[in-house]
């Protein structure tokens, strides 16, 4: 679906998502016109799904980030649907993932400070439906966070 040139463009783009189109064309060894055409085509084909803005929540005053892991009550057929629908209504939830493994679901939740976290936890997290078990991992620091893939 994508040829060697497309992969070269993507490898460079994922390694440095903020690269300008001029620099990206040069690094991938293509002309600007060819780069535009190929990026357009990859977006249309859905290989590139979106170009989003990364927001630094700390700069907006959100100092706390927690990874919440849930096991759901699987005797309830609508457990996943109900849980995810409810989690979407919590504004401080930034990521929702489902898993195959000992954990069913994971949420990334941000809060301004520990008092705010406690409030979110009590009012919005403990009230989520069909939870059998949960545990929390509190973020200390991001050691590595890249988008690069070994293409």
């Amino acid at each position: 679906m994508s040829d060697a040139t497309d992969r070269r463009i993507l490898r460079q783009l994922l390694a440095d998502p903020d690269v300008s189109n001029a620099d990206l064309a040069e690094r991938a060894g293509v002309t600007s016109a060819s780069l535009w055409r190929r990026l357009d085509r990859m977006r249309e084909a859905g290989v590139i799904q979106a170009i989003e803005t990364r927001i630094d929540w700390r700069k907006l005053g959100y100092e706390v980030e927690v990874s919440l892991r849930f096991t759901l009550d699987k005797t309830e057929p609508r457990a996943f649907d109900d849980f995810i629908a409810a989690a979407r209504l919590v504004p401080e939830v930034t990521e929702i993932q489902t898993f195959l493994g000992s954990v069913d679901l994971r949420l990334s939740v941000i809060a301004r400070d520990m008092a705010h976290w406690q409030q979110i936890y009590r009012e919005s997290i403990l009230t989520l439906p069909h939870v059998a078990d949960s545990d929390a991992l509190m973020l200390v620091s991001n050691i590595k966070n890249v988008q690069a893939l070994p293409l």
Partner: protein, 155 residues
């Protein structure tokens, strides 16, 4: 937002909300939607970028189409803890190309990892040859990701 501590106003948050899902939207386009002039929007975007609130772009790709069909989240607990072992572990784990994310966390595990593999066999290779051989690694828990949704957050 002229200094670090100043808080963005409702218009700033509205701009962030529009840019969050599409970083390629032009100031003119955002201006039309928020009924503001293009230069006014541009000035605010520049201010948010200079303040580091806009941290950059995230390229969301179809990993399966690119041959990386398996994403696994790992929880790792170190067997022996001490300052040197943390640094040694972190240096070794960040060097693994298939590892996209490494987070130092507090709780049942010491580290959270996000790993992209071509398939389950490829993941097994990474787990055995790269992860289990990391210095100080103890208990490892793996969960294979089935779906993922990013939310706009409190904007």
């Amino acid at each position: 937002m002229s200094d670090r501590t100043a808080t963005p106003d409702a218009t700033d948050l509205a701009i962030l909300k529009l840019l969050a899902s599409d970083a390629t939207r032009s100031a003119a386009d955002i201006g039309r939607e928020l009924q503001m002039t293009q230069p006014a929007i541009w000035r605010r975007i520049k201010r948010l970028s200079d303040a580091g609130v806009i941290a950059g772009r995230r390229i969301s790709v179809d990993q399966t189409a690119l041959g990386f069909g398996v994403t696994v989240f790992l929880g790792i607990r170190l067997a022996a803890k001490g300052r040197t072992s943390l640094e040694e572990f972190e240096r070794a784990v960040t060097a693994i190309p298939e590892v996209q994310t490494v987070q130092h966390v507090l709780g049942q595990f010491d580290y959270r990892l996000r790993i992209n593999a071509r398939d389950i066999a490829d993941f097994e290779r990474i787990l055995r040859r790269r992860i289990m051989t990391l210095p100080g690694v103890g208990q490892v828990e793996a969960n294979v990701m089935l779906s993922e949704e990013r939310r706009p957050g409190p904007l």
